[in-house]
Point group: C2
Chain length 243, copies 2
Amino acid sequence: MVESEEEFLKKYNVEEFKRPSVTVDIVVFTLIKGKIKVLLIKRGMHPFLDCWALPGGFVKMDKSLINSASKELMEKTGISKKDAYLEQLYTFGNPKRDPRTRVISVAYYALVDSSKIKLKKEHKKNIKDIRWVSVYKLPEKMAFDHREIIMYALKRLRYKLEYTAVGFELLPELFTLTELQKLYSEILNEKLDKRNFRKKILSLGILKPTKEYRKGMHRPARLYKFIESKPSSTFKKIKFEKK
Amino acid sequence: MVESEEEFLKKYNVEEFKRPSVTVDIVVFTLIKGKIKVLLIKRGMHPFLDCWALPGGFVKMDKSLINSASKELMEKTGISKKDAYLEQLYTFGNPKRDPRTRVISVAYYALVDSSKIKLKKEHKKNIKDIRWVSVYKLPEKMAFDHREIIMYALKRLRYKLEYTAVGFELLPELFTLTELQKLYSEILNEKLDKRNFRKKILSLGILKPTKEYRKGMHRPARLYKFIESKPSSTFKKIKFEKK
DNA sequence: ACAAAAGTGTTCCTAATACACCCATGA
DNA sequence: TCATGGGTGTATTAGGAACACTTTTGT
């Protein structure tokens, strides 16, 4: 007599095998004064006491991975899912990456507009500090393999930037072409030609000029808007100069 | 008095939180008679009894993810890591994807040369059948979210094929240009122009002509070899015709 | 009037595409 | 000799890359 699936499930013993822990860690990128930063937390607990780490937490039994990431993002930055770009990055599972026990980390990365951030600075017992740090000047003492995760995220971000319209997630609703170019330039870490950049980005048809201008010390710059229609639309590679 | 990291680790209670299970599932691609196939296993156990599933297994506490995948690949196909291309695909963690308990699956995909495969056909109690199935004709009854995983893997494979030299992993050491073109054509699911394909693929400098020929019913075809030097070298997109 | 950033076109060159015929072999 | 797949070149077009001057504003 063959057992039915129902009968089988009733008898199934969840405790039978030893399980690794699973965490979600997030590389939160934002642009502050034109510089690309990641959110880091100074640990107030072992292991890696006083080292800088990515925000993250254990995955609860009934929460999806993306929701775990989203919740962590909300807790640390006050930004909700719909106000950020959030994408799974890679899963890091080296058995020795956490000295406590086996911990598998599903890493995500997020792109957020810094004007929407409300950093929760009240330091809990386990958090000594929380800061935006330049990806080009990461602290010496980083926890776990978090430096590696950040570098991997940066690689992915550069890559995404060239192929999709994802960069707008780092800017406020209205922005100038120069601001957008500086964003690309900062993240890709290379100089871009103004005329070629404008020609290319405008030809994609994802920007809408507004009638507003950014007034500054000099000639005012037209403000543009990202056309939401196709969220994170893909295009043939945005290529720029060789060097 | 602050506790040292050592002291902390001694007291750390591994059993404190409920943990999800973690599995590794592999989408193994190979080329059989010019058709792109994936390895599927007919389940001889609940849940999804009699449904087709990807090869996979639970991640052991002391095994890295890639090694878990590699071990599974070896067990099912007799192919070792160095004879296959193996890459992490994505992590699937929907809380309801497995009816038993929370199971997070880190999916990998592998590209193997079918001439190296030694399928272990001795059916264990939990395996009713094991087969190579066309990705274009997947069975109706698939276990878990494995259909979704396969489609995701196919998408990634197509993508990889256009940007990297990874396709050679599916062919024996020596192959004709027509065989290579058919591989691209089969996986991308579109017709390719012979002259443009040859021009492009030869210009990449990753193929070495040998002095051997494939004899068949008609004019013999020159055999080529992949230059190992740069494993999975990246190039500017291999573009083909629009349609 | 000048300092500073905004804005704008053209030429060059590389690479993608489209396309058709001759060649070598086995039966 | 014929059927079959192997093998080859050129013309067109699209897009990436290099490059410098005029415009608008605030001071």
